[in-house]
Symmetry: C2
Subunit: 210 residues, 2 copies
Amino acid sequence: METETKRLGKTPSIRRMSLYLNRLKAYQEKGIEIVTSNDIAADIDVLPIVVKKDLQLVEPPTKKRAGYIVNGTIKAITAFLGWDKQKSAILIGVGHLGSALLGYRGFPGLTFVAAFDTDVKKIGTTIHNIPVLNISNLSDFLKKRKIEIAVLTMPSEHAQKIVDLLTQGNILAIWNFTRAKIHVPPHVALQREDLSAGLAELSAKIKNNQ
Amino acid sequence: METETKRLGKTPSIRRMSLYLNRLKAYQEKGIEIVTSNDIAADIDVLPIVVKKDLQLVEPPTKKRAGYIVNGTIKAITAFLGWDKQKSAILIGVGHLGSALLGYRGFPGLTFVAAFDTDVKKIGTTIHNIPVLNISNLSDFLKKRKIEIAVLTMPSEHAQKIVDLLTQGNILAIWNFTRAKIHVPPHVALQREDLSAGLAELSAKIKNNQ
C-alpha cells in the first residue's frame, strides 16, 4: 500500500521530466549554461518549489549555488529515465493511432524496429520505414530479436492474448494505448495511456472559466 | 499560489475521470447497476480511497450505501467535465499526429469540424471526412463559426502567432500538442499535452525493475 501511495505521489514529478528535458535543451541551444528553478518554473508554468522537488529526484552534481547546470541536468534526467540507452520497441496494431506513433519523432530513447498487424493489406508494407509484420510471427520474432518495449494500439478485445505472447517473449515493458485492463507479471513494467485524460483536464478548465 | 497548489493537487483526479467513465460504461454494458469503490479500484489499479476521493469531486446523488449507482455516476462525471454538451473543435497542422487525432474516435464531447494547414497539397482535401482548409482563412472561419476548442499539432515555431489569431477569434480552449510555451488571455483554457510524459513514467518503471 505504502509503495503504491509513494508511487502515486511521484508520478506527476516523473511525468514532468520530459518537459524539463525539452526546456533544458532549449536553454542549451541558446548557449545558456546555468538556470535557476525560477527560470524553469516561469518557463513551464509550475511553482519554483515544484521544480526544486522534482529535480531532487535526479542525480547530482547538477546544482550550484547559482542554479542548475544545464548540461549536467540534461544528462542527469536522461540517465534517471534510462534514456541514455536506446531501447528497441515494437508496435501492435497499425491503425490511425498506431501509424501516427510510428511516425512521431518525439519519443526519446525509443526506436521502433517493427510493427505487427493482422490485416493482409498492411502486412509486408512499411510505415515510416518500419516494416509491418504478420502478428502470427510475433513469438518467433521475439525469440530472434531483443525487444524491450511493446506499444499496444490494437483493438482492446485482443489485448490480453497479445500481452501473454509478449511477456512469454521476454518483453520488459508494455505501453498500453488500448482501453483494456491487462495483466502482466511483476517484472514487466506497464503504463496505461489515456489520450482523453488531457481532454478531461482541459474540459474541467473550460467549466471553471464559465 | 494557493489556487495553483490546489489545482496541482486535483489534476491527477481529473485525469482519472475519463478512466472511470470507461469502466463505468463497461459495467453498464454488462447490466451492472451498482459498484463499490473496491470494484472500481481493482479494475483500474488504484487504491479504493483514491476512487472515493476522486468521485467526491462529482455531483451527488451517485452513491448509495451499497456503492455507486452506475448510470448516475456516468451522468455526474459527464456533466462534471462538460462532456454532456458537444463542443466544436478545429485542428491546426495536419501532419502525422494531427491526422491521427482527426481519425481518433475516443474523444468524448469533441467534434472536429475543420482542420487547417499551410500545405497546398493538403488544402482542399478531407482527412477522415474533415475538410482541410487554408490557414490564411482561419480568422474569417472563426468569425462565421462558433468554435470552442483548437488543437495545436503544427510546428512549435508558429504556435504563438496562430494562438493569437485563435484567441482573437473567441476560442474558449487550446489543447497544445506542440512543445511551444504559449501565452493566452486568462479566460482561455490551456492544456499542454506531452506524449513523452507517459514514456517517462514507463521508463522510470523499467529502471525500478532492473
